[in-house]
């Protein structure tokens, strides 16, 4: 989910007959629901694609700390402060698990970090939107985490073992995130007129960016077809988006808030809502670096990394000294 627009390297999905025996055995194992582990043979495209996808997901968790971190020092009660801090801390943890999963594919965390900081690797478009009021903490938990969960739950069954296991852990921890967001929204929506206004405003600003999180329609994409054949992508973007809308609209109704889409309508025949597409031009602008907060987000990450250099080097130097002292004593 946090991985958008991942393009595989293949020109299309090969049939089993077209594959050499090694690749064929690999594909048959995936088809049978088996897991691929780090030391197993894998096609180079599978490896590269996974590094990009897991890396982008990890970067999204790390950059995703910033919009919510923006409100930790302004949280309105001690309990809200603790909950928000715990949640943002979880995101750091999820980034860490994912980087570790990617590291089993022969790339280091520092390499991936450098590629994030240089802008070479991407993170989810959603984190380039600003959090302007306390209600945004509710909207991010409810909508953004809600959308993320849609994608992460099926990824627990993904074919790459370390990725699947990281997802299992992430999903387990993440279950409180969406609920704490909705809990904030309930308080706001049932609060003072100013709080209700904040809640509606947050929904207005986060609705379409949340729909964009699933990426543009990929029904016709050969890249997505390859990823799905490899089981590193489990559903099409449209399937997940539909599921998200169907789940979220009644939740908005319960809050007494209005989803900002005049074309939103229940479609009895398909058993789901008809809804407006987000502005895909805006989506591509954000990916290109022209979102409201792209500059600030990358700047913040670069600054943290640069300012932390002496700390990482200092602790490493001390560990080396200890090791030498220990050897000398033996």
């Amino acid at each position: 989910m946090y991985a958008q627009m991942i393009k595989s390297t293949g020109k299309g999905v090969k049939s089993l007959d077209e594959m050499d025996p090694q690749e064929r055995a690999f594909q048959e194992r995936i088809d049978a629901g088996g897991k691929i582990e780090p030391k197993d043979w894998m096609p180079e495209g599978y490896r590269k694609n996974l590094i990009r996808q897991i890396g982008q997901h990890a970067h999204s968790e790390i950059v995703g700390q910033l919009p919510e971190g923006n409100w930790i020092t302004r949280a309105p009660t001690l309990e809200r402060k603790a909950i928000l801090l715990a949640k943002v801390q979880d995101e750091a943890g999820h980034g860490l698990y994912l980087y570790c999963a990617a590291e089993t594919l022969g790339v280091t965390r520092d390499q991936m970090t450098r590629d994030l900081l240089s802008g070479k690797m991407k993170y989810s478009s959603i984190f380039n939107y600003p959090t302007l009021t306390w209600a945004d903490m509710g909207a991010v938990g409810w909508l953004v985490d809600g959308a993320a969960i849609m994608n992460q739950v099926p990824l627990q069954r993904t074919s790459y073992g370390p990725y699947a296991r990281a997802m299992v852990r992430i999903c387990k921890e993440e279950s409180f995130h969406q609920r704490q967001g909705y809990d904030i929204m309930m308080k706001m929506a049932k609060g003072t007129p100013a709080q209700r206004k904040m809640a509606q405003d947050a929904l207005n600003r986060f609705w379409y960016p949340s729909l964009m999180m699933f990426g543009p329609s990929d029904k016709e994409s050969v890249h997505s077809a390859q990823s799905m054949a490899w089981k590193i992508k489990m559903n099409t973007n449209d399937e997940l988006r539909q599921k998200f809308v169907d789940q979220t609209v009644p939740q908005a109704e319960y809050l007494g808030l209005t989803v900002p889409d005049e074309h939103l309508k229940w479609n009895e025949e398909k058993g789901g809502y008809d809804f407006s597409e987000p502005d895909w031009e805006e989506f591509f602008d954000v990916l290109k670096g022209n979102g409201p907060c792209n500059t600030e987000r990358l700047e913040a990450r670069n600054k943290a990394w640069d300012n932390g250099r002496w700390v990482r080097e200092g602790l490493l130097a001390h560990a080396a000294k200890k090791r030498i002292a220990k050897l000398a004593a033996e």
Binding site: M5, I6, K7, T9, P38, R47, K48, I51, R52, Q56, E79, A82, I83, A86, Q89, D90, G93, L96, Y97, C100, E103, T104, L105, G106, V107, T108, R109, D110, Q111, G119, M121, K122, G146, A166, R169, E173, S175, F176, Q178, R179, Q180, Y182, D183, Q247, P250, Q251, Y254, F284, L287, K288, G289, N294, L298, R312, L315, L316, H318, A319, K322, R323
Partner: protein
């Protein structure tokens, strides 16, 4: 940020897992034995400058919800384990972070599963 697509990962060849460069903190595999006395189980990995730091980091990263009672941190060639005496201060504190658990938040039935 010039292209909407991720650029291909072509310049890196697969390196040996856990092999750190000179300026990177090495990678450690973390094993935790759960509260119910089963054997140590692999929970994930992390980076640390040395074994002590790996164990401390594991406590912060992997026992935030009070999952473990004993930690092993294993680099490529060595095993390090936390001492069982650490049990009190290292693990009890996580017991009261009730908001970590989804059931802390009352969500009305009407809004569906969350």
């Amino acid at each position: 940020m010039s292209s909407p697509e991720s650029s291909p990962y072509r310049e890196t060849h697969a390196e040996k897992h856990g092999k750190a460069r000179a300026t990177e903190w090495p990678l450690w595999e973390i094993f935790i034995r759960g509260q119910h006395g089963l054997s140590h189980r692999h929970v994930g990995s992390l980076h640390a400058a040395d074994a002590e730091m790996a164990i401390k980091n594991a406590r912060d990263v992997y026992t935030r919800r009070n999952e473990g009672v004993s930690i092993w941190a294993i680099p490529a060639e060595a095993i390090a384990a936390s001492s069982p005496e650490d049990k009190g201060p290292m693990y009890d504190p996580a017991n009261d972070k009730v908001y970590r658990h989804p059931t802390f938040f009352d969500i009305p039935d009407e809004v569906g599963a969350m």
